[in-house]
């Protein structure tokens, strides 16, 4: 049992919006990365700019600035990519939403507030207080442009990446070089405020954040030579739009896949200070007469051989697609209607065929009708690749 860690390759005193954070993992001969042991940790601090001011000042509790309760600190990492031996095995262009969906399938509302799987990642419904900070990070009493003492909150998260979801330890002889790359998002993508609009108008013009002391850590073990291939669970994203009450989402994947999971957010809610950018918003009307959700593979075969017409069945299949835990937020009416909703299918065998998901929503009037209030649909295709 050994410990190892690296700082980002492009080492900087702090990382903020749109920065690239890339880590390279190199091992000593005879060592292996213990499967699923990668963790990113550091300090996070946020500030606001009041209207008419050029100073960045610490946020207050009244500002009610949150990160997504299910995505937590994952919210700040817009894209992710990982590669082994210079071969890219996964790219996820909306990483925080995927991290949020995975948490929704594994933890209840109480779970995200109490489980160490979530709290250390700054998930939870009271992360606004955590975001105000707890201590001054070493050697960073002040930051450029920030007025007053900078108080940060430490975090540690387990990235939802293919490299962290492998079937065995990653030995040095077969994986001499591994890379993880994140692209940080803007503050408006990650942060939102639940304060009254009048309060926001007079107190918050802009938000910013910075990460300090970022590092990727993992545990190592002695490499056991093996010829067995290592399988990585990958995920890739297809983005489409729910713009009519009879919508078809097509899924084409370059690799084998065994599940698809779709989540939605109204276009009017994206990248707005008043809305959680990673909420998996509820789509009404599924249980109306004539409404249904149906999946078709290559035009004829169907993973579920009947149209789904109830939210219960939809939630069950969505939860299966995310390989969730028994206690979760997906199969709960309250949380499902408050940011944990989606459509998904898991297949008994892996497929590589063209899949289409047909969503028919009857009886919706303004502003629920997608043609008046379209939603973006994020389709995550869960597959695997062997190296």
């Amino acid at each position: 049992m050994f410990y190892n860690a690296v700082k980002p390759l492009n080492i900087k005193p702090l990382y903020s919006a749109n920065d690239i954070v890339d880590f390279t993992l190199k091992l000593r001969p005879g060592r292996a990365v213990k499967a699923g042991s990668l963790r990113v940790s550091g300090y996070l601090n946020i500030q606001k700019q009041a209207p008419g001011s050029s100073d960045w000042i610490p946020c207050t509790k009244a500002d009610s600035v949150f990160v997504s309760p299910y995505a937590g600190v994952h919210s700040f990492f817009r894209n992710s990519a990982c590669s082994v031996n210079d071969r890219v095995i996964e790219q996820n262009s909306m990483y925080p939403r995927w991290a949020s969906m995975v948490k929704q399938s594994k933890l209840t509302l109480e779970g995200i507030n109490t489980s160490s799987m979530a709290t250390l990642e700054l998930c939870g419904t009271q992360n606004n207080v955590a975001l105000l900070g707890s201590e001054v990070a070493p050697n960073t009493v002040t930051l450029p442009g920030v007025v007053g003492e900078v108080i940060s909150i430490p975090f540690s998260f387990h990235p939802e990446l293919a490299l962290n979801k492998c079937s065995g330890d990653l030995g040095q002889s077969r994986f001499p070089q591994m890379k993880i790359l994140f692209n940080l998002c803007s503050a408006i993508e990650a942060l939102y405020s639940t304060a009254h609009p009048d309060y926001i108008a007079t107190n918050i013009a802009a938000l910013q954040y910075s990460f300090l002391d970022l590092q990727l850590a993992w545990y190592e073990t002695v490499e056991v030579p093996s010829r067995d291939p290592i399988t990585f669970q990958t995920v890739s994203l297809i983005t489409q739009t729910l713009i009519s009450s009879n919508a078809t989402f097509a899924v084409n994947s370059p690799t084998l896949y065994d599940a698809i999971s779709m989540s939605f957010i109204k276009q009017a809610h994206r990248n707005k200070l008043e809305f959680d950018n990673y909420a998996c918003e509820y789509v009404p009307g599924i249980e109306n007469v004539g409404s249904r959700v149906e999946a078709t593979v290559s035009g004829n075969d169907q993973p579920i051989r009947f149209p789904i017409q109830t939210y219960g069945e939809l939630a069950l299949n969505y939860w299966k697609s995310l390989a969730g835990d028994v206690k979760n937020s997906v199969m709960n009416t309250y949380t499902s209607q408050n940011g944990c909703w989606g459509i998904g299918y898991r297949f008994t065998t892996s497929i590589n065929d063209r899949l289409s998901v047909n969503v028919i929503l009857n009886g919706l009037t303004n502003p629920q009708n997608p043609s008046n209030n379209p939603s973006d649909c994020f389709i995550y295709v869960s597959g695997f690749t062997s190296v």
């Binding site: 207050t60 109490t114 430490p154």
Partner: protein
């Protein structure tokens, strides 16, 4: 798998200790040895509420002896059980742990997307009104490593009589002395016949930290070399700070694991630094390692684990006399759930061939005094072996010539 539960009265019992004898030849399941059928009474007629150690706060030491008198296994630091109890999930904490183990409430309900509250209700779940239950298997690695035992044993429980340690002002008495419950095997399954049993025993230590070694705003550095682990195999190394850095006090009736500002811990095994960079240098990294090596744990948010979450919020005047600090307040113990459950864990999983050195730093705030000493409590999971034939307990040792490599 037929069994019957036997209640064994103590061979002798006093306020200080209870002895139980399990006769040789009686085949019993090692996974279900417990004390029950008793209630606690507070000598001051007050309700009893425990801290993170729960009911184990009244236990000073649990020992399991062979018939010939060898101490096979023991537990003398109940903080390890406090850590284990945290591994139950939120719902189990509410429904099981708080009632059965009586540990301080860490479960919450979330009535809406923006609220959480502790499930502890004022005046309820008082220790004098709950039938007490002490799980012995939970405490002793030897029992957890065994299945079916029949060699005969003596179980000795030493009770904590110091009210400062037990946390029960005025002391306590038992309504009746606890009875030992074991499940006797009634079928023909053979008892464990392995010549030796390997198991982990917690060896705890309390490292003195001079609180005045540094002044306000400076780092207090402590370096301690622990030679007593020579040639022993340590699995996990748990630790926590027994000192309140906010108020600079040592008073800790509930045995809370305090967080400290800018806390750093590094371990050196045989002179080799085993952790990268500055070691365990943030609360989050500390929590992540506890999660990774000890298991997922349940705490209401990060505030109970981190130092000073909500520090920028104004103090609210509380009429009940509790500090108006932000945070969830336990209505019975009045403990504010901020920085009070900060246990750490480092996995070593190796032999100590020379010594184990602990480097511990934290930022001094306020004005500490020598009258209020600080301690770092440590608990090392050491691998031990019991030779059934010779009745000898020994530490598992490295084979000659083995060298730790980095």
């Amino acid at each position: 798998m037929d069994s019957r539960t036997l209640l064994l009265d103590p061979a002798s019992s006093s306020a200080e200790r209870s002895y139980f004898r399990i006769p040789a030849g009686m085949k019993f399941y090692a996974n279900k040895v417990r004390l029950l059928n008793f209630n606690l009474l507070n000598n001051d007629s007050q309700p009893i509420y425990f801290g993170p150690r729960g009911i184990y706060q009244i236990v000073k030491k649990i020992s399991l002896l062979s018939v010939a008198g060898s101490e096979i296994d023991f537990l003398s630091n109940m903080d390890i059980l406090a850590i284990k109890m945290l591994h139950l999930s939120n719902s189990s904490q509410y429904s099981l742990a708080r009632e059965l183990m009586q540990n301080m409430c860490v479960s919450v309900t979330a009535p809406s997307m923006s609220q959480i509250e502790l499930t502890e209700a004022q005046g309820k779940g008082d220790g004098t009104k709950i039938q007490a239950y002490i799980d012995i298997t939970f405490a002793l690695g030897f029992l957890r490593s065994s299945t079916l035992l029949d060699k005969g044993y003596t179980l000795v429980i030493e009770w904590e009589q110091d009210p400062i340690v037990s946390g029960i002002h005025g002391g306590y008495t038992f309504s009746t002395f606890p009875a030992l419950a074991i499940d006797e095997c009634l079928t023909g399954e053979p008892a464990d016949s392995a010549p030796s049993v390997m198991y982990k025993t917690i060896i705890s230590d309390r490292l003195y930290i001079n609180p005045t070694a540094a002044t306000d705003g400076n780092i207090n550095q402590t370096q301690v070399r622990l030679n007593s682990f020579y040639n022993q195999y340590i699995s996990n190394f748990f630790y926590y700070m027994d000192y309140n850095c906010k108020d600079n006090t040592s008073r800790n009736p509930y045995h809370l694991a305090r967080s400290a500002p800018q806390e750093e811990l590094s371990l050196l095994v045989d002179g080799r630094k085993i952790l990268m960079y500055k070691g365990v240098d943030t609360s989050a990294r500390k929590g992540a390692m506890l999660h990774d090596f000890s298991g997922e744990f349940c705490l209401p948010g990060v505030a109970p684990y981190y130092f000073n979450v909500g520090r920028t919020l104004p103090l609210v005047v509380d009429p009940s006399g509790v500090s108006g600090e932000w945070g969830l307040v336990n209505p019975n113990t009045k403990v504010i759930m901020n920085g009070v459950y900060s246990y750490g864990c480092v996995k070593l999983e190796q032999f100590i061939q020379i010594d184990l050195a602990v480097y511990y730093n934290y930022l001094v705030t306020g004005t500490p005094t020598l009258a209020e000493p600080a301690y770092l409590n440590t608990m090392a999971e050491v691998l031990r072996s019991y030779d059934v034939q010779t009745d000898i307990v020994s530490y598992v040792m490295a084979s000659p010539g083995m060298v730790n490599t980095m």
